[in-house]
């Protein structure tokens, strides 16, 4: 592998890994904020317990998301400096604003929430959590706006005045209100809620069943903790699934206009069809990326509808689009040193079909699976029932992974489907003025394969170890569940009681409710 390939693997691995944490951070953050709000408004003990339990999981996951997010910011400079030079005028400003306007908010107020139990007023403490969650959401917006700009560059002109081509920003608002960004952001946020909803459903059902079968002395509060988790998670998942479908449809229609080849290869649609059929299942000759080697089972008319909203319009096929792109952007990479080993080689405008086709299907399939499990959970817990079906409950627990997989598949699809471009040409702009950039010219000149191997291997090793620890920790907290101690909420919470004028993070707090169990709880939020 050359530097370009290693750098691409590194980007893929670190990004997909980071994006396992992100949806959980956003989705669970929102739900924990809802639980905390419910507690502040109603004073009911189960909401406090839910806030603490799910908040704990949220924090374990949050910190790994932050840590791996750092890599992303540096990586553009480390491995992709030619890209950074080309797009610096627009891309860097979006990233910097994310740090300034969102990341500070998230990190600072999360610290305040973690250590603020019993130290600041109850409402202010709740507001700190909402501020942190708002930070996560705004952060997601900026990052997706930056990514969407690469998918569909707007608000820039091609500037060759310095002798070298550069993207020059002319309309900052256009970058922030890019329709691609609005669609992708709304899609990602509701998909995050599916991740959190699925977790609440799976874990909640498991605890309900376990406690019922074990005949443990279960307090009403503990029972309510799991029951409400399941109900909340189930409703959120179902609602989010409806919204995921709507926003996905919006995104899909934009993609047909902006990146037709990505969507056609997602469908393995080789020849232009009118009306076009939706592919249900396909198989191809192993290792072949020739569209005509793919055999597909299809439903007529559906693809026309997905692409254009009617049942008859033509949808262009991969073969035709490949020719069109070759005619517009050349059949070979320019014979220029900036293209490294790829200079003069043939360009394949068709993304890796197996990845786009199956990535697209995995994304949709996992979403549907998760929604099905949520519907089952709501039905199984109707009118106070507790499910005892082993298959149902363990199925729900396993299905916790489904929206994670769906999210990852969605990103892999959208990123791999953009190749061979890192900045995809915007079809609304005349070809001569288009701002676009091939992935082959994006990699840092001057770095050695050894350097990128070193970072790829060391990051992958560290990420692997941390994944094991994170999953182990979450599993442990999930198994232990809420504590069985005192079930009454501490009246003094948020009252700011302090010991001897010193303020340990424990000045007062929900921990006092758990004197029977010293191993966990909100006090443990404090380091």
């Amino acid at each position: 592998m050359d530097v370009l390939d290693i750098a691409r693997w590194q980007f893929g691995i670190t990004t997909v890994y980071h994006f396992l944490m992100v949806p959980l951070t956003i989705g669970l953050g929102l739900l924990v904020a809802v639980m905390h709000t419910a507690w502040v408004r109603t004073g009911r003990a189960e909401w406090l317990r839910m806030t603490r339990f799910w908040g704990r999981i949220y924090l374990i996951n949050f910190v790994l998301g932050v840590a791996t997010g750092l890599v992303q910011e540096f990586q553009f400079g480390l491995a992709w400096s030619a890209y950074s030079r080309f797009v610096g005028d627009v891309f860097g400003s979006v990233l910097a604003l994310e740090a300034l306007l969102a990341f500070f908010l998230e990190s600072t107020f999360l610290g305040l929430w973690i250590f603020g139990w019993g130290r600041i007023g109850k409402k202010l403490h709740l507001a700190a959590l909402w501020a942190a969650v708002l930070g996560s959401v705004v952060s997601a917006y900026f990052i997706i706006a930056a990514n969407s700009w690469m998918q569909h560059p707007v608000g820039v002109v091609l500037d060759t005045s310095s002798g070298e081509a550069r993207a020059r920003q002319v309309d900052f608002l256009a970058v922030l209100t890019n329709n691609t960004a609005l669609a992708a952001f709304s899609h990602a946020i509701v998909a995050s809620l599916m991740v959190a909803g699925g977790l609440l459903v799976g874990v909640g059902l498991w605890h309900l069943r376990r406690r019922k079968l074990a005949g443990e002395p279960v307090t009403e509060v503990d029972h309510q903790v799991w029951r409400r988790s399941v109900r909340l998670g189930g409703y959120v998942s179902l609602a989010a699934f409806a919204l995921v479908s709507l926003t996905g449809d919006w995104q899909g229609k934009l993609m047909y206009q902006q990146q037709p080849l990505k969507m056609s290869s997602a469908e393995a649609l080789c020849e232009t069809e009118a009306p076009a059929s939706f592919s249900l299942f396909a198989f191809s000759k192993l290792g072949s990326n020739e569209c005509d080697d793919v055999h597909s089972y299809t439903i007529p008319y559906v693809l026309s509808f997905l692409a254009h909203g009617d049942f008859s319009s033509a949808v262009p096929g991969v073969n035709q689009l490949q020719e069109e792109y070759a005619a517009t952007y050349g059949t070979t990479y320019p014979d220029d040193p900036s293209f490294g080993d790829r200079a003069g080689q043939e360009i394949d405008y068709t993304p890796v079909l197996a990845v786009t086709y199956w990535g697209f299907r995995l994304m949709i399939g996992m979403g549907m699976l998760s929604a099905g499990v949520a519907a089952y959970a709501l039905w199984a817990t109707r009118r106070g029932r507790v499910p005892t079906s082993r298959i149902g409950v363990y199925g729900a627990l396993l299905a916790v992974g489904a929206p994670f997989l769906g999210n990852a598949a969605g990103w892999i699809f959208t990123e791999m489907g953009r190749q061979p471009f890192v900045v995809y040409p915007n079809p609304d702009v005349p070809v001569a003025d288009q701002v676009y950039f091939f992935t082959a010219q994006a990699v840092s000149p001057g770095i050695t394969a050894g350097e990128v191997w070193t970072s790829l291997i060391s990051l992958a090793l560290v990420y692997g170890v941390l994944a094991v620890v994170e999953v182990g920790l979450i599993a442990r907290f999930v198994r232990r569940g809420v504590t069985d101690g005192d079930t009454t909420p501490t009246p003094g919470i948020g009252g700011g009681r302090r010991k001897d004028g010193n303020d340990g993070p424990d000045g007062a707090g929900p921990d006092d409710t758990d004197s029977s169990d010293t191993t966990d709880d909100v006090l443990q939020f404090a380091y």
Binding site: L70, S84, V87, G92, F109, E470, D503
Partner: protein
């Protein structure tokens, strides 16, 4: 001042702010095995930085983001030229962050001890790597005519990188000690103060040497005066520590950093990356910067956003302003730690 200069100042302020704030949490982490005699001590030390380390780290993210946003030519030359040091920084920051959050997830003593060690090692590695990157950046990197590093993976590993690493490590460690003296009470406070008073000289020398070298190479009378302020503040730090005035010592030591950083950045300007191969290949602020339009947009956003950020960050420090004392670890209070 044109916008390029404004943003150079902004970048300098962000890097300095990062060193000033994250410096003490690097230092506290570095001192865990030195000043933390038992588990309760170490617990207490970590609690002094618990609520703020994450917010402090965002200063780094913003500093790097601002370099990318305002000076992509600087960003795109600097990061690949110092590829391995930056990777080391990232690895250090990753393991340190998760260790902060995960170490108290179990009350197993070995688990706790292991993650506490990870915090120390991760912090040392990150601080050293950032120091190396900054040192080489201000004293020279082997940059060729096209803004690309010449000479392979280790070409940037030079004595300036080593000096930068030592300077940041030494400065941070002392900063952490003074911070602990300021934020804790009891035996730890006394030990931290004694440690700081003893090591203030050796801790100041590499930082002052670094700033002095940049000053000698490209400084003027104003930056020279700043360097004298930095050196004077180091002496003041020592005298304040001797009389046990931790707050004043903290302010004086912060002045050492602020004045040194101001010397380095102001003396180097308008060069953002000096080339060791030929001064003609130096990367200059103006040629590395983005368009006036983008700078204008960012100036407006930062002009409104930054005061808000500074406001709420200052407020969190206010909320957690009290001194902390150790609690016995093996008691029902254990869950508090």
């Amino acid at each position: 001042m044109d916008l390029t200069t404004v943003w150079f100042v902004a970048v300098a302020v962000l890097w300095t702010g990062f060193l000033l704030l994250e410096g003490f949490d690097f230092g506290v982490a570095a001192l865990l095995p030195v000043l933390g005699r038992d588990r309760a001590d170490r617990q207490l030390m970590l609690r002094t930085i618990g609520p703020v380390w994450d917010g402090n780290e965002v200063w780094l993210v913003t500093a790097v983001g601002a370099v990318f946003a305002a000076f992509p030519g600087w960003y795109a030359t600097w990061l690949p030229a110092m590829y391995l040091p930056f990777v080391v920084v990232l690895l250090g920051l990753i393991v340190r962050a998760v260790a902060f959050e995960w170490r108290h997830s179990s009350h197993d003593e070995r688990w706790d001890a292991a993650w506490t060690r990870v915090i120390t090692i991760g912090s040392l590695v990150a601080a050293g790597g950032i120091g190396a990157a900054l040192g080489a950046t201000t004293l020279g990197l082997p940059i060729g005519p096209d803004g690309v590093r010449v000479g392979g993976a280790f070409a940037g590993w030079s004595w300036p990188a080593l000096l930068g690493a030592v300077a940041v490590l030494a400065y941070s460690t002392l900063h952490g000690a003074i911070f602990l003296a300021l934020k804790t009470d009891g035996g730890l406070r006394v030990r931290a103060r004694a440690f700081a008073a003893r090591w203030v000289g050796p801790a100041a020398v590499p930082l002052l040497a670094w700033a002095g070298l940049v000053q000698l190479r490209s400084g003027g009378p104003i930056t020279g005066a700043l360097w004298v302020v930095a050196a004077g503040a180091a002496v003041v730090t020592w005298t304040r520590l001797r009389v046990g005035r931790e707050g004043q010592a903290f302010a004086a030591w912060a002045t050492v950093l602020l004045a040194s950083a101001a010397t380095v950045f102001a003396a180097a300007f308008p060069v953002v990356l000096p080339s060791t191969i030929d001064p003609a290949f130096d990367v200059l602020a103006a040629q590395a910067s983005v368009s006036d339009y983008t700078l204008t947009v960012m100036t407006w956003v930062a002009g409104f956003g930054l005061p808000v950020v500074l406001g709420y960050q200052a407020w969190t420090y206010w909320v957690f302003r009290r001194r902390l004392v150790a609690e016995p670890v093996h008691s029902p209070e254990e869950a508090h730690a």
